[in-house]
C-alpha cells in the first residue's frame, strides 16, 4: 500500500550538508499500524513529510498503491490517499468543528448530503456530536485533536499519518485520543503511521520502528 525505498534527505547547514535520512526503506500494508520513535531532531517529521509527498527526497522512491509519487504533482492524490494529524491540531480557526471535518471533502470536490452525514457521524464517533457548530477556540485541546482525527478520516483515506498527536495534550487526554485513533483506524481498516515519543502509545501499534542516525530500525 505504501512503499518507500532508499529515501534520503539532506539539509544545508553553512557549507556542510547534514544527512537527516540515509536510505530509509519502509513497506506498509493496508490496515497496518506502525509507530516510529526517535530522539528530537532524528528526522521523524522529515520522514513523515516525505511519505506524505509534501517534500521531495534527494534520492529514493515513494509509491502509493503501487504508483510512483512525485512530490510536485501528487496534491490531488494526497487528498484521497491520506489523512494527516499534527501535534498542534492545525484546525482552521474561522471554521466550525463540522466545517473543519468537511474541509478535505470540500477541497477534493463537492460537499453533498452524504458528506455532511459522514462528518456528523465522525464527530459523533469522536464524542463531539453536540459540538459540531463550535469554533476551535471554544474547544479544549483534546477536543480539537479529536476534530483533527475526524478530519483525517473524512475522505476515507488508505493511510493516516499522525505526527506526535499527543504532544500538546496531558497524559490522560493523550491516552484517550490515541485509543480513539487506534479504534477508528482499526474499524475502517486504515493504515496508520504514528510518530510518537511515548513508548506506551508506540507499543499499541502492530509494528514498532525507531529512527536513529537517519536509518529506520525495527523494534
Amino acid at each position: 500500500m505504501l512503499q518507500a525505498a532508499g529515501l534520503t534527505k539532506t539539509y544545508a547547514s553553512g557549507d556542510r550538508r547534514i544527512a537527516v535520512l540515509r536510505g530509509v526503506d519502509l513497506l506498509l500494508r493496508a490496515g497496518e499500524s506502525v509507530s516510529i520513535r526517535g530522539e528530537s531532531g532524528a528526522g521523524k517529521s522529515t520522514l513523515l513529510h516525505l511519505l506524505a509527498g509534501l517534500d521531495a527526497p534527494d534520492a529514493g522512491e515513494l509509491r502509493w498503491n503501487g504508483d510512483r509519487i512525485d512530490a510536485a504533482r501528487c496534491t490531488a492524490i494526497r487528498n484521497r490517499f491520506l489523512g494527516m494529524i499534527f501535534q498542534s491540531f492545525h484546525l482552521v480557526p474561522e471554521l466550525t468543528a463540522e466545517d473543519n471535518v468537511l474541509l478535505p471533502r470540500r477541497i477534493g470536490g463537492r460537499v453533498d448530503a452524504a458528506a455532511r452525514r459522514r462528518a456528523a457521524d465522525l464527530l459523533a464517533r469522536v464524542g463531539l456530536g453536540e459540538r459540531a457548530r463550535h469554533l476551535p477556540s471554544q474547544l479544549s485541546g483534546g477536543e480539537r485533536q479529536r476534530v483533527a482525527v475526524a478530519r483525517a478520516l473524512m475522505n476515507q483515506p488508505s493511510l493516516v499519518l499522525a505526527d506526535e498527536p499527543t504532544g500538546n495534550l496531558d497524559e490522560r487526554t493523550g491516552e484517550a485520543v490515541i485509543t480513539l485513533l487506534l479504534e477508528l483506524v482499526a474499524e475502517t481498516r486504515t493504515a496508520l503511521i504514528l510518530v510518537t515519543h511515548n513508548p506506551a502509545h508506540a507499543a499499541r501499534t502492530s509494528r514498532h520502528l525507531t529512527l536513529s542516525e537517519g536509518i529506520l530500525h525495527h523494534g
Binding site: H49, A76, R78, P93, I107, L135
Partner: protein, 410 residues
Amino acid sequence: MPWYVHLALKQLFPAGRRFPFFTAISVLGVALGVALLIVVTSVMGGFGYEIRRMIVETEGEVQVKARGLIDDPAAVLQQVRRVPGVEAATPFASGVVMVMANGRPAYPAIRGLHLDTVGGVVDLAAYVRLGTLEELDDDSVLVSSELARSLGVTIGDTLEVYSPLIIERLRSDEVFLPREVRVVGLVEIGHQQLDSSMLYGTLRLVQDLYGLGSAVHGVNVRARPGVGEDELARRLNAGGLPAGLQAFSWMDSFEEFLWVLNLEKGMIFFLLLFIVIVAAFSVMSSLLISVVRKTREIGLLGALGASSRGVAACFCAQGILIGCFGTLVGLGLGFAALAVRNDAVMLIARLTQREDELRRFYQFSNLPAHTVPGDVATVVVLTLAISFLAGLVPAWRAARLRPVEAFRSE
C-alpha cells in the same frame, strides 16, 4: 461553492464574531471611494443634464440660423416642417436691451416669441410662476424672477425698454423714445443666469425694438420623440434648408462648454479613483499580513490536498469579495448622499452663513444630479478590477509557500 470561496467568506466573516473588524475597515475604505465617485460623476453629469434640459425646454433641440437675418421666415418654416423628424418649429428674434424701472437699470437679453407656434416647441407656460403667458401681447413682457426682484417690479408694473436702435437713430439726429411695456408674468427656469437676465416678449415687439421688419434671427425646432438632436440637425443640413441657413443642435451650440464639462468630469473621476487605489493598497497590506499570520493554515491546506492555485484563489477571492461588498455599500452610500445632497449643501451654506453667495454664484437653484448607467458600470468594473489586483500579490505569496516550509516555521 468552491472551497476557496467558502474559506474566503469564512475568513472575512468568521462564524461567531458579530463585527469582523478587518473586513469592515477594508470594505469601508473601498465603499467611501465608490460613494465619492458616484456622487461626483452624478453631480457633474447633472450639470450637463440640467443644461440640456434648460436649453431644450426653452429653445428646442435644434436652431436654424442665417449669417444675418432670415427675411422670409414663413418659407423657411414651411421647408423645415417638411423634414422628417421635425415635430414643430417657431421663429424667434433675440438681442440685448437696456431696461429701466424704479430708477434702476438692467441689461437683460430679450427673446421674441411667435405666440401662435411657440407652444409646439417650448413649454414656456410651465415656467411662468406668476401671471400667464396668454396675457402676453405686443406691449407687455414676461420677466425672469431674479431680474424682477433686482428691478423691484412685479405684475402690472411698467418697464422702459431701450433698444440698440436708439443709438443708430441718434446718429441721424432722430429721437427714438424708449418703449414702455407692462409686466404680465414672472418666469423661473431654475438656472441662475437665465432667471436673472431674461425678458420674453412677442416676436413683433422684438422686431420693432430691433427694426427687423418681418425678418427673424432664427427658427427653433422641436424633434419628434426618438429622433436625436444631432441626427435632426444633420437631416436639416442635408437638404432641408434654403441656401445660407444652417441647423445647429444644442450640443453644437454649447460644444466648447460641454467639452470643458466632460474634461472636468474625467479629471475629477481620475483623481477620485486614487481613493479606491489607496483603499486597495490597504486591502493588499491587510491580506499580506494575513498570509504571514496564516502560514500554518496555508501549509495545512496543502497537506489536505489543496493546489497552489486553489490557495491563491482563496486570497484573490478575499480581495474580490471586499471589492464586491465595498462596491455595494459604496453604491448605497453614494445614492443616499445624492438623495440628501440639496439639504446637505443648504445646511453647509447656512452653517457658514453663505446662503446668498450660494444662490448668486450657483447656476442652478438646486444641486443637479444625473446618474448615467455607463458611469456606474465604469465605477463598478474599475473597483472590482482594482480589488482583484489587490488580492493578486498576497495570493502569489500564499501560492509560493510550500506546505513543508509552513510546518517547518512552527
